[in-house]
Structure formats: structure tokens, C-alpha cells
Assembly symmetry: C2
Homo-oligomer: 214 residues x 2
DNA sequence: GCAGGCATTCGACCATTGTCTAATGTCGTG
DNA sequence: CACGACATTAGACAATGGTCGAATGCCTGC
């Protein structure tokens, strides 16, 4: 059985470095590379044997954590390891809230990165540093943000389309479903976000850092 | 003939200081004070003899330049002097784009402030420092932002209500106009913002820093 | 296995939004 | 003063959005 691993980062050099690390841990895996979020999204949709996604936090085409949310929406079963430059401690928890399996700093030791990759491939959660919160480990994240995190994959894709200002008809076409279905998803989204129309939904989602660029 | 001057700032001490300056320039004027944007908005609506508004850039209840836009929308005829703490050069031009007559830094000399107040009362544009752009003096501000600046007063109030997620019916009620009129305004707003539905209008407006808090 | 929950799907029906046309009033210009 | 430009108002109609009920399929726990 073949398996493939997607490396999504806009810096070619860093993609190469990550590919090297992947080669050490999983020599049999096919390595896919993407420099933009849409490219990554396309590959994710095509490859059925995808086993892991390594995702840069600041990808062209996405703002904030939208990239994580989008790819996680496309394939909730594929683990995502977020690779960041030098964000704060908070970023790791937020990334997890949006669906990431683990969080790696770019300045981490190569061995740490390889460990995280093999752990994720094995289905385990990498032993990256977690929140430094004192004892309970509970997140004091925005309660609404938590609700965003448990939007279903399809719902998230619909919401991102709404953030693009698209009509239900357009969303239906691009997702290959009927307009009635899009409306049903919108109802579910609005219920989860605790709002009553799509404009409020769009504003809330954007205030949570969800947004895609063209 | 009586005239009144509104001082809108959340810091009571600074309100007092501004009131002192106003007293020097216009001893006859009635001084009104407001600590929040809604309070200021209410006073603006009530007082017909309002001659000038001194507005803090960061007022509770508003984000960015919404406060300027809102008060300017209520009474486009009343000059607004924006008083800021220590914003960049850019802020002055942006404030003007949203309807402010002049821009004052809080660390400015008292004489400068008094000059600006008397100039504004006389109907002139205060000689505060303008953009440092080389020769033409033209603004390279976002072209869409310019369009926001020439929204009519009512249109701006409608847009702010849309940013609050309100329905046309609710907007009509709170503005005391008919729903048909709100729709007409929406059409004009969307044309000026170069979008085709209210969700896009809301997103564009928010991306320009327009937003009111509850 | 099977019962319950949930995601996804959809059509029908009502609500909201947006367009078009047009009337009124105000303001500044020639 | 007359004229044009435009804000404001509004009704009728078309397009879009949102709710309800229901069917299907998947997964989990009993």
C-alpha cells in the first residue's frame, strides 16, 4: 500500500528540508508539495492515500487559521501537523482548536520534527509542547471559537464560501450539491455560531480569524 | 444665539482640559460632555445648536474610525475635530477621509489646540499638519475607502446597522424610515462599495475598520 | 444486531433581500 | 429663477435566503 504526505509551505527551501525529514522517517511515502493553499486543497481532494499534511501557518491564500480549518474540513481523517515560524504559545492551542493534530516550531530540532512526523503517521498525537496553563490544562478560548471547531467539514467549506460573499447558488455549484442542501448547512452553521442570518455568521467567522484570500 | 460644543472622550480629566481650552476660545458656548459613543450620538441628535465636536479617536463603543463616520453621518454640517493620543501620520488622513474636519495630537501645544478650535468654529479648516506626501498631496488611500467616505449620512447609518447584523425591517424601525427606503439605501451602498449583496458589503466595511461595539 | 444520534441530502413553503421605476424636496450653478 | 444633480422616500416585483419536515446512510454504544 502506498501512502503520500503533503508538504504545504510557500518557501521552496523549507519544503525541501521538510521533505528530507519525511524521507528519513517514511522512505516509502510519496511526497507532495504545494506552495499555495488552493494547490494544497486540490491535492488533498485528489489523493486518496494521503496519510499526513505538514502545513505552514502562514500560507499564501489564507489568513490566520483558515488554512487548517479548510484542509481539516476536506479530509478530517488526515492528521495535520502545523509548522510555524515563531508564534506565541497561544498559537499552538488555537491551531489545535481548528483541527490540527500537532504543532511544530520551525526552529525545533530535526529529531523533534522527525519524531512528530512518525508519531502522527502512527496515528498518535505528537508529544509537542502543550499549553503552559497551570494545572487543569483547560482552554479559556472563546466559547464561540469552540463551536467553530466542531463545525462539520461540509459546514466549514460552506462558511468559508460565505466569507467570500458567494450566493447559495454559487456555493451549491462549486460544492456539487443542491442549493437546498447549502441552505440546510447554513441553518446548522448559524445555529452553532448562535446567530440568525448569514451576515452575522460572516462577521463572527471573520472575527475569529477565519478568512480566505483570492 | 447660543451654541454648544460637544467633547467626547472617555477620560474625564482630558475632557476637563479640553473644556478649559474651549472656554478660552468660546466663553459663550455651552460645553457638553460624553464618555461613550452612544452618549455622544444621543447628544448630537438632541442639540440643534451644536457648533463643534471634539472627538477622541479611541472611544468606548467604536473601533477605528467608526465613531467619526457615525457622528459625521448624524450631522454632516457640524465640524469634527479628532483628538488622538499618538497615532501615526496616516491616521490624520484617514480621519479626514471619514469626515473629520481636523486632526489634533493630544501632546500638541495648548495654543495649537485653541487655534484649531476657533478656526473650526469659524468654519475654516484648522491648519493642522497634513499629509507629508511629496508634491501632489493626493492620497494613495484605498480607492474603496474613498467611496465609503462619500456615503451619505443615512447610508452610513444603514451600513453600520448592517454591520450589526440587523434586518432591513429592524434598521427601518430604529431609523424611523420605511423598509423600502432602507432597501434603496442598501442598493446605493452596495453600488458605492462595488459589491452585490449585504454580506459582501459588511465584510468590506469591516475590513475598512468600520464597526460598532455593543 | 439494533437503537439512537448525527451528517448529508432534498423539496416545499415563507421571509428577507434586492431591483426598477418614480415622485418629492433640497441645494448649488448658470 | 430655472435647471440639473442627487438624497430621500416608497410600491411592485423578482431573486435570494432561511425554516420545516423528511429520507438516507454512517457510526457508536448497548
Amino acid at each position: 500500500m502506498t501512502r503520500s504526505i503533503l508538504i504545504a509551505d510557500d518557501h521552496p527551501l523549507f519544503r525541501q528540508a521538510l521533505a528530507l525529514a519525511v524521507g528519513q522517517v517514511a522512505p516509502d511515502a510519496t511526497v507532495l508539495e504545494a506552495g499555495t493553499l488552493v494547490a494544497a486543497s486540490g491535492m488533498v481532494a485528489e489523493r486518496g492515500d494521503l496519510a499526513l499534511i505538514l502545513l505552514d501557518l502562514k500560507m499564501p491564500g489564507a489568513v490566520g487559521f483558515s488554512g487548517i480549518a479548510l484542509l481539516h474540513a476536506e479530509r478530517p481523517d488526515v492528521p495535520i501537523l502545523v509548522v510555524s515560524s515563531a508564534e506565541g504559545d497561544h498559537a499552538a492551542d488555537e491551531a489545535r482548536a481548528f483541527g490540527a493534530r500537532g504543532f511544530l516550531r520551525k526552529d525545533a530540532d530535526l529529531a523533534v520534527i522527525e519524531d512528530a512526523i512518525s508519531a502522527a503517521l502512527a496515528g498518535r498525537t505528537p508529544a509537542t509542547r502543550r499549553s503552559v496553563s497551570s494545572s487543569d490544562g483547560a482552554s479559556d478560548l472563546d466559547p464561540i471559537r469552540e463551536r467553530v471547531a466542531d463545525l462539520t467539514p461540509t459546514q466549514l467549506k460552506v462558511l468559508l464560501a460565505v466569507l467570500d460573499g458567494q450566493l447559495n447558488k454559487q456555493i451549491a455549484h462549486s460544492l456539487g450539491i443542491s442549493e437546498a442542501t447549502v441552505k440546510a448547512h447554513m441553518t446548522a452553521i448559524m445555529r452553532k455560531l448562535d446567530v440568525s442570518n448569514r451576515t452575522q455568521a460572516a462577521l463572527v467567522a471573520r472575527s475569529l480569524g477565519l478568512h480566505l484570500r483570492h
